[in-house]
């Protein structure tokens, strides 16, 4: 029982990262109908930012701020350079555009930054453990959960109470109608990318505190997990993305802890198969809408 609680908290901590990334992907999907497979580049850029800040002798507070800022700026840059040009294009074009951004960015990092892994120190408390009532919690999981809760609450407030948030939700509901009602598309789309960058930045802080390394492929796995989480929840549903993130984290931790040793190497593969099965039998995801196309 205590073991299960430990694993659940561990899974939720891991799921927090996925949830934040997935939420950003869902926000972008809402305004552009684009599944952003380039979202992981924000994490890669963040990773090198923290490496450089670390090399410059800065501490984790400054690094955290630097990570979030660089993630937001990168997100805006990618929108400006690539996605702005394929707005309203066929789904196929947008899908491959985001993959193209991912491949180009990765190759640029390999060539002009470093093909090798760069390491930096993780904060000292990352490995600390507290024991409450016989259950061991990792401090890092608790901090991640706490900050994620605050970030999500802030996002909910932003979406519910601000003009920007209302325009964004309106645009996600019906982009053309929102535009006719005076919502400015450039601003909403840039805003969505900035928000997604912010959420990915917060996630990146935790990812990097945990791993302490920068490499050209640092963003690949978080991106895949984020896309999967958004799809599990049901594309277009913001709550679904968050739920999908946590669900994915918990399932992964449980698989890692309970699979026979010979199978542990296949964890990702098994997760993929589970997800493929989910899409096979519930193409809309857990909370996805099953609206019929208007004719």
């Amino acid at each position: 029982m205590t073991q299960l609680i430990q694993q659940l908290v561990d899974g939720l901590g891991r799921g927090s990262e996925y949830a934040l990334i997935a939420l950003g992907i869902a926000v972008i999907f809402g305004v552009m109908h684009l599944v952003n497979f380039a979202h992981g580049e924000l994490i890669t850029v963040s990773a090198y930012t923290s490496y450089w800040l670390f090399s410059a002798g800065l501490g984790w507070w400054a690094m955290a701020i630097g990570i979030v800022v660089s993630s937001v700026l990168t997100s805006l840059l990618i929108e400006f350079v690539a996605f702005r040009r394929v707005r309203g294009a066929a789904d196929f074009t947008m899908l491959l555009t985001s993959f193209g951004v991912h491949f180009v960015s990765q190759a640029l990092f390999v060539m002009y930054v470093s093909a090798n892994v760069r390491n930096f120190n993780r904060p000292g408390w990352v490995t600390d453990v507290v024991t409450v009532g016989g259950v061991r919690f990792e401090v890092f999981d608790l901090v991640t959960l706490g900050v994620t809760a605050v970030t999500l609450a802030g996002t909910v407030w932003l979406l519910r109470r601000t003009t920007f948030g209302v325009s964004l939700r309106a645009a996600a509901e019906d982009f053309d109608a929102a535009r006719l009602m005076g919502v400015r598309s450039d601003r909403v789309i840039s805003g969505a990318f900035a928000l997604a960058g912010l959420l990915a930045g917060v996630a990146a802080v935790f990812v990097l505190m945990r791993t302490g390394r920068a490499s050209p492929t640092a963003g690949l796995t978080p991106m895949l997990k984020g896309v999967l989480a958004a799809l599990i929840g049901g594309l277009g549903s913001l709550q679904g993305a968050v739920l999908g993130g946590f669900a994915l984290g918990v399932v992964e931790v449980l698989l890692l802890a309970r699979l026979p040793t010979a199978w542990v190497g296949l964890t990702n593969g098994i997760v993929f198969v589970l997800i493929a099965l989910l899409f096979t039998f519930r193409p809309g995801g857990l909370l996805g809408d099953h609206r019929v196309e208007r004719v």
Binding site: V35, T93, G100, V227, L266, L277, V292
Partner: protein, 608 residues
């Protein structure tokens, strides 16, 4: 047509493949060994890319999994073909007694095809269930899952695959060093790809690629077409991947992972994913570009001051940049859907417009076929708490034109959607003659003879005007005996689209597009045409002309008509009978004169 279509495609395929093989051999003849290898690798890549094209090009579904299928095939080939004494040193503990298996290369390729197809059956089922269609994300993720899964299994199942360090390798001298198997496979692959593209299945798949919903409304089942496309495509990829393993003399998990996916997909995208010729052009362009970047990044080049820019890894930037650049600027690639054999054959084909006489039989009643009744009975539809239809009934005989009118939101389109199987009815039945259509999927309703058009035009945009009509005729269910069935040419002429027949549908102006949609529906052997606002967006004179157009078309195929429209001049001019809906319920039914005089109808329209 005097000559069957497939002869041209097959010949075109042979010519294409031979041009590529000849060109690569000429190039290789200049240089030594290195170019020999480059040429054979390019030809092998061409086989794989053509295989991927069969799926992505015909269905529009973005697959990242084909290299995964390639990995499955590659391992199957290697395990089957590598001699047992060699296997004993790498995978002596192989399961299922595979360590002792030893077959020839041809049998090995067959085994690779069989194993890859077995995986494709599973993946194809998942893709169909996930509602795969052009640009669908869940389908792309399922294929991505396959790519990762194959890689992980290959890395971890070391008893079978040798793991990711050593991998499986052929004994020294066991690698392929002849061009013949590659050349033969390439010719075969290109011919099969061209034959598939021009086959009935391939053309139906392309229609569904252009518009899934319209395809189903014409009687096409996209799932079947996509499934077959996947199987053909995977078989070709399996052959190419086996040859790749044979030629390299070894296989490790990373041979069939992201790098190769990026390479093959970029080739396909750059050349033009919708055409086989384009896929081959992409292979050539990207191979050449890759060589150029490798040369620029190599030690032979030292352009002053640019050394920092040109270094290892340049080819990855080139590939990613080519993919991204084409998506941003020219998403359909260099050649889009241009095919060599089609371009050549078009020169030979000349045709005369068939004589059509639209003055006779301007009434559907003139057709000497027993009338069939379409009946939607007591239909109720609830969306959440909202009742869109409340026990609404409408019926029509295949000899009459029935109008469906009512204010906005009255439920007219919903009723058509229920009849055509797009929206499930909460209660009620739909019958055509003594055939129960209730709950049938859209394509089966269409095959039974109930064919619809859409309020917001849904043509197969990238197909030509003629192809739009041909595809509908291909998809048509068995025809009623005795009913007239005009040819594609006759329908083209009837719709006044003869001169525009080789234009793409998306280039048509509004009036022509509307008439094409009508002609396309007529080609699907309808017993009933269900027209959703055929005159919306038309001027008064255009909608009056549409009256004759609809009547002539319905008469030409002996179909009844149920038509929704807001243009009262059009509706009263064309209908034998009108049913009026308001707030989901039928409030009146009768001749146009009755309806115009009906107080309930006036109240509904004037809001009194």
């Amino acid at each position: 047509m005097t000559k069957p279509r497939w002869v041209g495609s097959a010949l075109g395929g042979v010519v294409l493949a031979l041009v590529l093989i000849g060109g690569s051999q000429l190039y290789a003849a200049w240089g030594g060994m290195a170019r020999d290898n480059l040429a054979s690798q390019m030809l092998i890549n061409a086989i794989v890319v053509v295989g991927i094209q069969v799926y992505i090009g015909n269905t529009g579904v973005l697959s990242f999994g084909h290299v995964g299928f390639g990995g499955v095939a590659g391992y199957a080939f290697a395990v089957a073909v590598i001699p047992p004494d060699r296997k004993a040193t790498i995978i002596g503990n192989a399961p299922f007694g595979l360590a002792d298996v030893h077959v020839g290369h041809l049998a090995g390729i067959v085994a690779a095809i069989v194993v890859a197809l077995a995986v494709a059956l599973l993946v194809g089922y998942a893709l169909v269930r996930s509602g795969a269609r052009a640009g669908a994300v869940s389908a792309t993720v399922i294929t991505l899952a396959l790519l990762f899964l194959v890689h992980e299994v290959a890395v971890n199942w070391t008893d079978l695959t040798g793991g990711d360090r050593a991998g499986l390798s052929f004994p020294v001298g066991g690698a392929l060093d002849s061009l013949w198997p590659i050349a033969a496979a390439l010719v075969g692959a290109v011919v099969v790809a061209r034959l598939f593209a021009t086959s009935t299945t391939g053309r139906l798949a392309k229609a569904a690629r252009e518009d899934d919903l319209a395809a189903r409304a014409m009687g096409i089942n996209p799932a079947t077409a996509q499934f077959l496309a996947l199987l053909v495509s995977v078989a070709i990829v399996a052959v190419g991947s086996s040859l790749r393993v044979w030629e390299l003399g070894t296989i490790t998990p990373r041979f069939f992972f992201f790098d190769y996916t990026l390479l093959t997909l970029t080739m396909l995208i750059v050349g033009g994913r919708n055409s086989v010729t384009g896929a081959l052009a992409g292979v050539v362009v990207i191979t050449a570009g890759n060589e150029l970047t490798r040369y620029l990044a190599g030690p032979d080049v030292d352009i002053a001051g640019l050394g920092w820019l040109l270094r290892d890894g340049l080819s990855d930037i080139f590939l990613g940049g080519a993919m991204l650049g084409f998506m941003l600027v020219r998403a359909n690639g260099l050649l889009d859907d241009w095919e060599l054999d089609e371009a050549l054959l078009r020169r030979w084909r000349t045709r005369r417009q068939p004589a059509t006489d639209t003055s006779t039989s301007t009434s559907a009643a003139a057709v000497p076929v027993d009338p069939i009744v379409l009946r939607a009975d007591e239909i109720t539809v609830e969306f959440g708490g909202f009742q869109a239809l409340e026990r609404a009934s409408v019926h029509a005989a295949s000899t009459e034109v029935v109008g469906l009118i009512g204010p906005n939101g009255a439920g007219k389109t919903t009723l058509i959607n229920v009849i055509t199987g797009l929206v499930p009815a909460t209660e009620g039945r739909v019958e055509l003659g003594d055939h129960d259509l209730t709950g049938l999927p859209t394509h089966r309703v269409a095959r039974a003879g109930v064919v619809r058009t859409f309020q917001n035009l849904r043509l197969f945009g990238a197909l030509t005007v003629r192809e739009n009509i041909e595809v509908a005729a291909l998809a048509a269910g068995r025809h009623r005996p005795g009913a007239p069935r005009p040819s594609t040419d006759e329908l083209l002429a009837l719709a006044q689209l003869w001169d525009l027949r080789d234009r793409r549908a998306r280039e048509l102006d509004y009036g022509n597009a509307r008439r094409l949609e009508l002609a396309r529906a007529a080609a699907a052997a309808p017993v009933f045409l269900l027209l959703d606002e055929p005159t919306s967006g038309m001027s008064d004179s255009e909608s009056l002309a549409m009256i004759d157009q609809v009547r002539a078309t319905a008469a030409a195929v002996g179909a009844g008509v149920v038509v929704i429209d807001h243009d009262l001049g059009f509706i009263t001019g064309i209908c034998d009978r009108i049913t009026c809906l308001d707030q989901g319920a039928v409030i009146a039914d009768g001749t146009p004169a009755d309806i115009q005089a009906d107080p309930h109808v006036r109240a509904a329209y004037l809001g009194a």
